[in-house]
């Protein structure tokens, strides 16, 4: 099996090289047959890579410990689901998985556009194949997932998967992230194709719009799932730590968000062509860079793999792409010029433009903060890190500006907005915002950021609600529909518009969740059974301690009764587990804290079993009261819903009749 897998990888590489060669021949000779064969060989690469992926999967499921990767990341006791997910637990496996996702996307692009975009497709295939070839080089020569185990003794069992990764969320978080990371290759390939073929009009933008939206959604969901996993599994009580690897996934999301906004302008007004090119280029490079950051260990992070030789190779690739793309853009500047101009600062166009500037600024700040340790070490010799406080201080105000733009953008008219419509559209949202601020001030909140956030969330939520309400009124008046029917019809006729609004509402809810952070409480105690402690209006009693032996670990289970105002709220059961507890070598036993939480809209009571002194039955317990966290997840669901609405295909036939 490993031999077969390894040969499949080298075969894929040769087919990829062949594809590039054929495309070059086609462009030189202009003989269509070369292109037809290139299409087939490109599909061949996709097929071979898929086969290789399946082979690795089979080895993992069969626990074929002759393969080094299988022996390092699974054991006989690993549950089947996690044997499956071990595919992306290690470096070489995840590179192959990256490649597999890219190939699946490429196959879809190839089949979808078999008879379309004849000018663009050769360059699209070429670009995608170059990216494939790069990753094929890596899995063939640098990190081969099929390399045989390096041991001169028989192997009874593998090392097993890290217990932290044995979690259902962790089973879908990396693939989601990869769907996003890899997906930006497709719009990027179309952008390069547009540049190469000088077909710089709306065609390529129109073609990739839905791709980009899908990719952007996958990346967003991936990022959110990462936060969800950290919150529900890691036990430090937060969902975002500004860790380099988290930042690496956040940055392309930011520029991607800017891109999906600014291509609307190119589609509608035929403007911002250069800017869009730069944005998609940067987004794609950030995706590659993100993969590189995760894999290289250049910035120390809790997630990153140990140092490897991948760093320089990735950097070379990034710089090569950058150089080629800058050359392409510079040589095509004349074609990228627009005859149109912006007319007013107070218009939808400039709203989008400011949104773009702000998104890129946040991205720049995050990039700077992430890379600062590396830069400062290169310049001064001392690594200077900047932690979460830096990122929070920088991004919170910029984020609030974005929220403000999300509120006013939809209310601005294209080209120019007159004063009277400004007053009409904004008076109610502004008043509602001020009203909400007064209400929370009555409740005793005086801090500036929470107050500004309250104002903005109320402002944005009202302006979007009004938008929905006005739309419904128009339909009920015009067509005599019931309000509900009007809502459904209105959304289904303007999917991207209302889908976008729903996403904005989701973002508003997330910001509500972020305000909660300012009011979190946490405390740690050492307690014995029967003791009682207080935090944030809760009485917490450690009422019981049990021990249990389970198939692959041993667990101490604490019972914490949570009481508020004399009433029992819930019993929490945080656990302290020891994995591989029968291993005679104590270093191989792995302790793990399983947290337990009770979640409501108002706040979460979050408990962590820190440690135990078995002789004295003295436990260390950490309790956190985290406010409004649920709103963050609600925002995530709305983001999903809104994007799916925007993505839902419009009925073609109806459109043609018009």
């Amino acid at each position: 099996m490993p031999v077969y897998g390894a040969s499949l990888l080298s075969l894929s590489l040769s087919f990829a090289v062949l594809t590039i060669f054929l495309i070059v021949l086609f462009l030189r000779r202009d003989d269509d047959r070369f292109f037809f064969v290139a299409q087939r060989t490109s599909l061949g690469v996709c097929f071979l890579v898929t086969l290789a992926t399946m082979t690795l999967l089979a080895s993992l499921l069969k626990s074929d410990f002759d393969v080094d990767y299988v022996a390092k990341y699974t054991s006989l006791g690993t549950p089947t689901l996690y044997k499956f997910t071990a595919m992306w637990a290690g470096q070489s496996g995840s590179l192959l998985f990256w490649l597999f996702v890219l190939c699946s996307y490429s196959a879809v692009v190839l089949l979808q556009n078999r008879n379309k975009h004849q000018k663009l497709m050769p360059y699209v295939i070429m670009t995608l194949t170059v990216i494939q070839a790069f990753f094929l080089l890596l899995v063939n020569f640098v990190a081969n997932p099929f390399s045989p185990v390096d041991a001169n003794f028989p192997i009874q069992d593998g090392l097993g998967l890290n217990p932290l990764l044995q979690n259902p969320t962790m089973a879908i978080h990396p693939p989601m992230l990869y769907l996003g990371y890899v997906g930006f290759s497709v719009p990027f390939a179309f952008a390069v194709a547009a540049l190469c073929s000088r077909q710089l009009d709306v065609v390529w933008v129109q073609t990739i719009r839905r791709w980009t939206l899908f990719t952007w959604l996958a990346l967003g969901i991936g990022v959110l799932l990462g936060g969800w996993w950290a919150y529900n599994e890691l036990g430090w009580g937060g969902y975002w730590a500004w860790d380099p690897v988290e930042n690496a996934s956040f940055m392309p999301w930011l520029t991607g968000t800017a891109f999906i906004h600014s291509i609307i302008i190119q589609e509608k007004k035929n403007m911002l062509k250069v800017w869009n090119m730069i944005l998609i280029l940067v987004t794609f490079l950030l995706c590659i860079f993100g993969t590189f950051l995760t894999r290289s260990g250049i910035v120390s992070s809790v997630h990153s793999f140990t140092e490897s030789s991948l760093g320089p190779i990735f950097l070379t690739f990034v710089f090569l792409i950058l150089a080629v793309c800058i050359y392409l853009i510079l040589t095509r500047l004349d074609d990228l010029k627009t005859e149109k101009r912006l007319e007013s600062f107070v218009s939808r166009e400039s709203g989008f433009l400011f949104n773009n500037v702000v998104f890129v600024s946040i991205c720049f700040a995050v990039l700077w903060g992430t890379m600062f340790p590396v830069i400062s070490e290169a310049v001064t010799g001392t690594q200077i890190t900047v932690g979460a406080p830096f990122f929070n201080q920088i991004t919170i105000p910029i984020g609030l500006i974005l929220l403000f733009l999300a509120g006013i953008g939809p209310l601005l008219a294209w080209r120019k907005t007159s004063k009277e419509s400004l007053i009409r559209n904004f008076s109610i949202p502004v008043l509602t915002g001020l009203g909400m601020v007064t209400v929370v001030m009555v409740f005793g909140i005086r801090a500036i950021y929470p107050l500004v956030t309250v104002f903005l969330t109320a402002f944005v939520a009202t302006s979007i609600t009004l938008e929905f309400w006005r739309g419904i009124t128009v339909r009920t008046r015009k067509f005599g529909e019931s309000p509900f029917m009007a809502l459904v019809k209105m959304i289904s006729k303007n999917r991207s518009r209302y889908g976008g609004y729903i996403v904005h509402i989701g973002i508003v809810f997330m910001f509500i969740g972020f305000i909660g952070k300012a009011f979190d409480k946490d405390k740690e105690w050492s307690m014995s059974v029967g003791e009682e402690v207080q935090i944030a209006g809760y009485d917490i009693v450690l009422s019981d301690l049990n021990e249990e032996e389970r198939p692959n670990h041993f667990a101490w289970i604490a019972t914490l009764d949570v009481i508020k105002e004399g009433k029992d709220v819930v019993s929490l059961h945080p656990e302290k587990r020891i994995y591989f507890h029968r291993n005679p070598n104590p270093d191989r036993r792995q302790p793990h804290s399983e947290l337990s939480l009770h979640s409501t809209w108002r706040e979460d009571v979050y408990s962590v079993f820190g440690g135990i002194d078995p002789d004295k039955e003295l436990l260390t317990i950490k309790i956190m009261v985290n406010r409004l966290v649920r709103f963050v997840w609600l925002g995530g669901y709305l983001l999903l819903l809104g994007t799916v609405i925007a993505l839902w295909p419009a009925r073609r036939s109806r459109r043609k009749e018009n």
Partner: protein, 107 residues
């Protein structure tokens, strides 16, 4: 795996099997790839449809913008001055696009 003669034989067998499999896969993919060379579909790549496509997309986009503008006007988001100005501008663009489309199809 146990050491000794039988294991080695078995290993050779699996190697043979893998070799056959890989050759088979290679032949399969290659056959698939070169197949268009032998089928004379005559499906030449269509020439300059790009211009047409661009204009069609432009036209649809402009129609949609007009519809959206009307919706915004009905909803009261756009003042009647802005509405009139934008509408005239969009209509002018549509007629330009239609003109170009006509000239291409009459060629």
């Amino acid at each position: 795996m146990l050491s000794g003669q039988p294991a080695e034989v078995e290993e050779k067998k699996t190697d043979m099997f893998a070799a056959i499999m890989i050759v088979l896969t290679f032949v399969l993919v290659l056959a698939f790839a070169v197949q268009p060379l032998f089928v004379s579909k005559g499906a030449a790549i269509a020439s300059d449809k790009v211009k047409l496509e661009t204009l069609e997309i432009r036209k649809l986009s402009l129609y949609e913008q007009i519809k959206e503008l009307e919706l915004e006007f009905d909803m009261g988001n756009v003042s009647s001055d802005d509405y009139q100005r934008n509408r005239i501008e969009l209509k002018r663009e549509v007629s330009m696009v239609l003109e170009q489309l006509n000239s291409i199809s009459s060629e």
